[in-house]
Symmetry: C2
Subunit: 216 residues, 2 copies
Amino acid sequence: MLPGPPSKIAVALFSGFQALDVFGPLDALNILSYTNPLELYLLSTTLDPVSTILANAPTPSAIGQSLVPTHTYQDAPKDIEVLIVPGGRGTRELELTQPVVDFIEASFPSLRFLLTVCTGSALAARSGVLDGKNATSNKLAFDWVTAQGPDVKWVRHARWVQDGNILTSSGVSAGIDMIYAFISDQYGEEAASKVATMSEYTRNTDSTNDPFDKAA
Amino acid sequence: MLPGPPSKIAVALFSGFQALDVFGPLDALNILSYTNPLELYLLSTTLDPVSTILANAPTPSAIGQSLVPTHTYQDAPKDIEVLIVPGGRGTRELELTQPVVDFIEASFPSLRFLLTVCTGSALAARSGVLDGKNATSNKLAFDWVTAQGPDVKWVRHARWVQDGNILTSSGVSAGIDMIYAFISDQYGEEAASKVATMSEYTRNTDSTNDPFDKAA
């Protein structure tokens, strides 16, 4: 018997994550959870709140928000089915994000799906799990991201890319279109359409419709 | 001399707020803050983390996320220029949200702008500040919201509505289009366009383009 749609979802947080990379996909899942049983784990290196402002920035010039994690990478549940990796300024900090990279590498073999948003694909690339796979990323950061994974088949013109059980999206807002594609595929198009209507979101349902390819 | 664009922004949080109502607008402001000096206050009744899951729900059937507030309504800074009020399931809880309603009423006279997202306009309506004004709200909750403010001039067909210094948006995702209209108006179209490109967001720039009017 085929397994049902996944229900155990985790998000890999780190200092300096991009808020909409996380909350775009998660709020669609929040609404989906009214009708489909889902469990959510928010992972970080400690249980302290994680800020969208990079912790070691010399003078934080930006506003930010702090999200409360539910588990550390050390004590993360073993039954995670879907791992979502956001992007953000923090991804440029190689030491800071090494625990995320290590966690992607260690957990990937038991995951049913890995989803990345924006420069989150740089973290997945560093873990090696994207090697030989098609993947995309944020357009303004494309050169930097692709340098993190020379053996990845980077696809520039894409709103999101699916290669097997790995979905990578383009920049920030593209994560919303990717999650709707994922919901449609795994929970059914009716569920995806219902969540989009409840969220009053106009979906971009064509993964090759990428208005930002020429932005950089 | 005319004042410059507003820089002191607050968000009114409560148990059971909708995540994207908050993070759609805030992440655009996060990116704007890289180049424009902004300050952000996240308000709640206490300094405990505030969950998108309604606290007194009999059996929470939904997944959620918890955001860390920076101030209580009691000790909120007096210099707030822009107050953003999200919607969500919590808005239906009249007792729970009375502190939000009271805060809107008390702070409105000194605000430069009041912005609401989704059913957040029900809280503004209860405070009385929308009386005689044009306003909109979530389409699936429209009948309930409009009953909260019989003296408001409710506009059904609108992605968002501006009446003087009050902007109200339609459901959830509509808050993103509203904040880009606000950024364009107050910080300039070049800033709005730049933030949208960095977020890879395709704006709906026509407030009368409302694809969800027929959803209910």
